[in-house]
Symmetry: C2
Subunit: 132 residues, 2 copies
């Protein structure tokens, strides 16, 4: 893979916008530093970086793909209220159990929680009310 200003810029954006940006968000931010940048190039470079293992793709059902600079295994919480995506760690024991004794040949396991993030949950049930 040959060096390119655009690719490094995309990489930097994924690292600095740590909140799992979409391609569009990366494009809008990167354009400030490189006005001629095109959205197609952002997509192409995100695919390059994912394939090279420098970036992870985060797919949330019904949403555009997001991109994550954290390479270590983790899951994501998608908040249906504010739309944010938060990293959620998983106990190593649970991860082991998730992968153990499965048929076939597992190469990856994606875990996504759907619900409200902590801030939105607090907003929804203010006065210390029980939150399921």
């Amino acid at each position: 893979m040959r060096y390119s200003k655009q690719r490094e810029l995309v990489m930097q954006q994924v690292e600095s916008l740590q909140d799992h940006p979409t391609a569009e968000e990366i494009y809008q931010n990167a354009r400030k530093e490189c006005p001629g940048l095109s959205l197609g190039t952002v997509y192409r470079n995100l695919n390059n970086l994912v394939e090279a293992g420098r970036v992870r793709r985060v797919s949330i059902p019904g949403q555009p793909d997001r991109f994550d600079h954290t390479l270590a295994w983790h899951g994501h919480l998608y908040c249906t209220a504010c739309g944010c995506v938060e990293d959620l760690a998983l106990d190593p024991g649970v991860v082991r159990q998730l992968l153990a004794g499965k048929p076939g040949h597992i190469t990856d396991c994606v875990v996504t929680w759907i619900g409200l993030c902590e801030a939105c949950a607090r907003r929804a049930a203010p006065s210390g009310a029980a939150a399921l």
Copy 2:
């Protein structure tokens, strides 16, 4: 929700094509019994049925949505070789741990395994060779 021939036909297809059909597959099959059926109607009815809780939507990253008649909680294995999607049960203890102690207010948890199904894994590593 008012009765309609088309909706019941879509429901039947999800039940009889038990291998998590896509909207397109449901459309192609249902058209044999109802030639005038349109793809838009299939999508509209799948959305109705999902909203009514009679059908579950299965989202696999980078793939068109699939639909599942099994309502009980379970995960899916997506085979990158043949493209099939298989149900995979999860130990109730693991499910409890997946949901316990999470911040916010979790309403659902999606678990998807990526790899090879049993048949494709056997094909890839024939003579009893170690798999992973």
